[in-house]
């Protein structure tokens, strides 16, 4: 007797590998009289599917059945034959929408684990790439693959990752974020200690650095460990651009990170506590611009920041076709009219807009989200204690960042603890020719 779930199997495979060989056997004698032996012989020599095996328990057979395998029962046999006839439809490989590049490969991960592994393996054709598969989720039975290069990744790190994934106790895994939250170091920290990417070339680079990647079936986002702050501020495209350009862009990104975190709080802190620091002409024009504005500086800044966050959220949720309406309403109606009506001063709009643009320079979505939240904290501190408050905030942030680790790597490495070679690599994009010279 054959058993399969209609929606999970590929009918063509089923017919070619299982049905036709079995049907053509009808006229021939059975390979063996003993049912168990006969089943094994059928698996071995008759069924032409790439994978076929005999399992002994019903649980194992049901798990396979749920994955789209076909079961073959033989009357009197001790086991059940499972035949790989899986046929899950998958989206075509498209450009990763969360991280597009100007120059560089354009393929992105899809929801199928097999395709994703193949995308990575295609880039590193080496036998030392290891793919360890695990199953996670007591209900969903999601397949998870841990990828590493076995002579580059530290064995204890791999072991630790496997152990952490093994400990995961959850009903279902619908996205790699589930795994990320369950295996990350310092889970209470706002900062992401697990890197996530949608790009196979990124994962390939990570593997070659000796780091470990985790692919989760059903999610196009791969995870990588260890992950430090500097990793989150790097993009793969840095390596695809000419080294001076890439270095410049990387510095811009560092500046953007700081601006995103500090600009509104410096604006609020300086104006409410230290207006003497503002150059006279600038102070004069800020004073004029603020004349008649009903809100204090803090309120104004917070209002505009909130408005911007709402706008951003709205534009993510909106269908693409009416997305442009958001920009018209947001930019023209709120920005322009609020200033003209004298509700918000134009310096506040400029500050919020500059912060927003700076926030888009951070390549990691999760880090950008963290900074967005911390920005509000910084603004509140600045409104209470001025620049002194900002310094308190930065110190607390520094203490926190230097206390967390990602899989044994300090989060601020290579800046603190200072490692010269890695530091240079982080600050500058060292050209390949210089790197090769060092290796000799």
């Amino acid at each position: 007797m054959l058993m399969w779930i209609d929606n999970l199997v590929d009918k063509r495979t089923l017919q070619l590998t299982t049905l036709s060989p079995l049907l053509s056997m009808q006229t021939l004698p059975l390979p063996s009289d003993e049912p168990s032996e006969c089943l094994e012989e059928l698996c071995r020599s008759v069924i032409s599917a790439p994978e076929a095996a005999v399992v002994s328990t019903a649980d194992e057979a049901i798990a396979s059945l749920m994955c789209g395998w076909t079961l073959l029962f033989l009357n009197g046999a001790a086991g059940i034959a499972v035949i790989q006839t899986q046929g899950l439809d998958s989206r075509g490989i498209e450009e990763a929408p969360s991280s597009t590049v100007v120059r560089g490969p354009r393929d992105g991960f899809v929801e199928s684990l097999d395709v994703n592994v193949s995308l990575v393996r295609r880039r590193i054709r080496s036998e030392s790439v290891r793919v360890d598969k695990l199953v996670v989720g007591s209900v969903s039975h999601t397949h998870v693959a841990v990828l590493y290069i076995h002579d580059r990744a530290k064995p204890e790190m791999v072991e630790e990752v496997m152990k952490r994934i093994g400990k995961v106790n959850i009903d279902g895994v619908l996205e790699s974020q589930y795994i990320e939250e369950l295996i990350k170091d310092s889970p209470r920290s706002f900062f992401p200690t697990v890197y996530s990417t949608e790009r196979p070339d990124d994962v390939a680079g990570i593997l070659m650095e000796g780091r470990i990647a985790i692919l989760v079936d059903g999610s196009p986002f791969a995870l990588a460990l260890p992950c430090t702050l500097a990793h989150l501020l790097k993009t793969t495209e840095d390596l695809y651009l000419a080294y001076p350009v890439a270095t410049f862009i990387r510095w811009l990104r560092y500046v953007g990170f700081l601006m995103n975190l500090l600009l509104p709080s410096v604006y609020v802190g300086t104006l409410t506590f230290h207006p003497e620091m503002v150059p006279p002409q600038l102070l004069s024009s800020i004073l004029t611009a603020r004349e008649g504005v009903p809100f204090p500086v803090l309120m104004e800044t917070l209002l505009m920041e909130l408005t911007f966050e709402v706008l951003r959220e709205a534009s993510v949720r909106m269908p693409r076709s009416i997305g442009s309406a958001i920009s018209i309403v947001g930019a023209l109606v709120i920005g322009e009219s609020a200033v003209q009506a004298g509700i918000i001063s134009s310096p506040a709009i400029i500050v919020v807009a500059a912060t927003a643009i700076a926030s888009f320079t951070i390549p990691s979505i999760s880090l950008s989200g963290t900074v967005r939240i911390l920005r509000f904290g910084m603004v509140l501190l600045a409104s209470m204690f001025g620049l002194y408050g900002i310094m308190i905030g930065l110190f607390l942030l520094g203490i926190h960042l230097s206390s967390i680790k990602s899989l044994g790597t300090p989060y601020l490495a290579p800046f603190a603890p200072f490692r010269k070679k890695e530091f240079l690599k982080m600050v500058f994009r060292i050209p390949w020719f210089a790197l090769n010279k060092n290796r000799k």
């Binding site: 409410t272 506590f273 207006p275 006279p280 002409q281 204090p296 204690f385 001025g386």
Partner: protein
């Protein structure tokens, strides 16, 4: 427990700092100039010029109809008292950290400043980078009547005084340099003067020029532009200048001078202190009322320049030392650096000492160029 400890630390950091004082930003008015005048009964009249912020012309502020500045004045025993009275008139919060100039009227300066200016040392919310000017007429009138191209006159004055191109005929001094020199025996204060150029009508054009010389905290006299230039060279404030020499009756040659370097050397001979002054530099002919042959008359030009410069410097030093008895070129400080023991001995009578000081002046300028003309 850990959280409690962290909380205590945070609370300490925020509460012990003393960094309080939010400023009511929207009520802020910038004080752009402070004027100090004497008043009856040894009181002080303080005039504050409050600037009314206007949008820059580029941002469409050109057509705004509002007074660019308003002057308030009040009398008090101390500056602080007068400022508090002004606060009642102006209502808005006075913002001192961006004050551009402090005007001290001549009368007030001659009365002595020591017992009043400590306000500028003690008050934290003010600008030690503001420029000090001594006004020939009451400071209040200068502030009321001044008419400049910029809407707020103090802005214009500040820009003129802080310009990178140091005007050699002009001394300039900021509050942080001016205040300590009021009490410094070996290097006394000077300040540029300001006064009306022509007293024609309601508003006057103010001229910044000449130099007020202080002896301790009291102003003693004025130096002309040319003398200010020499003081500037001797203190090292300026390296450039111009000089007119009289070649013959009604014939003169003007030089532009560069890389002027002065060296003051105290010389002790037999217990008698004298000053040796070396001045070096380069000169360039700017104008001449007679035809010159640069090749053959080169040496003559140089000698005339050096001779007449020496005379001018002698006159200036004579005026400063003998007439005013004030050490504005900082010779006392030079002695302090070179011979500390000698300075200690002579410091108490330094005012008397410099009156009888001999100056040995040697000037060596080279005439390098004759301009574009041969």
């Amino acid at each position: 427990m850990k959280a409690v400890k962290a909380g205590i630390c945070l609370l300490a950091v925020t509460l012990i700092s003393g960094c309080w004082g939010q400023i009511n930003f929207d009520q802020l008015t910038i004080v752009s100039a402070i004027g100090l005048d004497p008043a009856k009964n040894n009181m002080i009249r303080v005039t504050l010029q409050l600037s009314n912020p206007t949008l820059p012309v580029a941002a469409g502020g050109g057509s705004q109809q509002r007074r660019p500045f308003v002057n308030y004045d009040a009398v008090g025993v101390t500056i602080q008292e007068a400022v508090e009275r002004i606060q009642h008139q102006a209502k808005k919060s006075l913002f001192f950290p961006q004050t551009k100039v402090v005007l001290i009227s001549e009368q007030f300066a001659r009365r002595g400043l020591d017992d009043t200016l400590d306000y500028f040392w003690r008050e934290t919310n003010q600008n030690l980078n503001s420029w000090v000017l001594v006004s020939r007429m009451p400071a209040r009138h200068v502030l009321d009547k001044a008419m400049e191209l910029e809407p707020v006159p103090a802005d214009e004055w500040r820009k003129y005084l802080e310009g990178d191109w140091k005007r050699p005929l002009q001394v300039d001094v900021q509050m942080y340099q001016f205040l300590p020199r009021l009490n410094q025996t070996g290097y006394q204060a000077v300040s540029p003067g300001i006064g009306p150029f022509n007293k024609s009508g309601k508003s006057d054009i103010m001229e910044i020029g000449d130099t007020a010389v202080f002896k301790n905290d009291r102003m003693v006299g004025w130096l002309s532009g040319e003398e200010s230039q020499i003081v500037n060279w001797l203190t090292g404030a300026s390296r450039r200048g111009s000089f007119h020499t009289d070649l013959a009756q009604e014939e003169s040659v003007s030089f532009s001078l560069h890389s002027v370097r002065a060296k003051l050397i105290p010389v002790l001979s037999g217990g008698r202190l004298s000053m040796k002054l070396l001045l070096k530099g380069e000169a360039e002919v700017l104008t001449a009322t007679v035809p010159l042959h640069f090749g053959s008359e080169h040496a003559m030009l140089r000698d005339v320049l050096n001779r007449q410069l020496t005379t001018a410097i002698e006159k200036t030093i004579d005026k400063v030392f003998r007439q005013f008895g004030s050490d504005v070129i900082g010779f006392g400080e030079t002695l302090h650096r070179r011979m500390p023991a000698e300075w200690k001995k002579r410091k108490p009578d330094w005012d008397e000492e410099i009156r009888g000081l001999d100056a040995d002046i040697s000037v060596s300028f080279e005439v390098k160029r004759s301009g574009l003309l041969h």
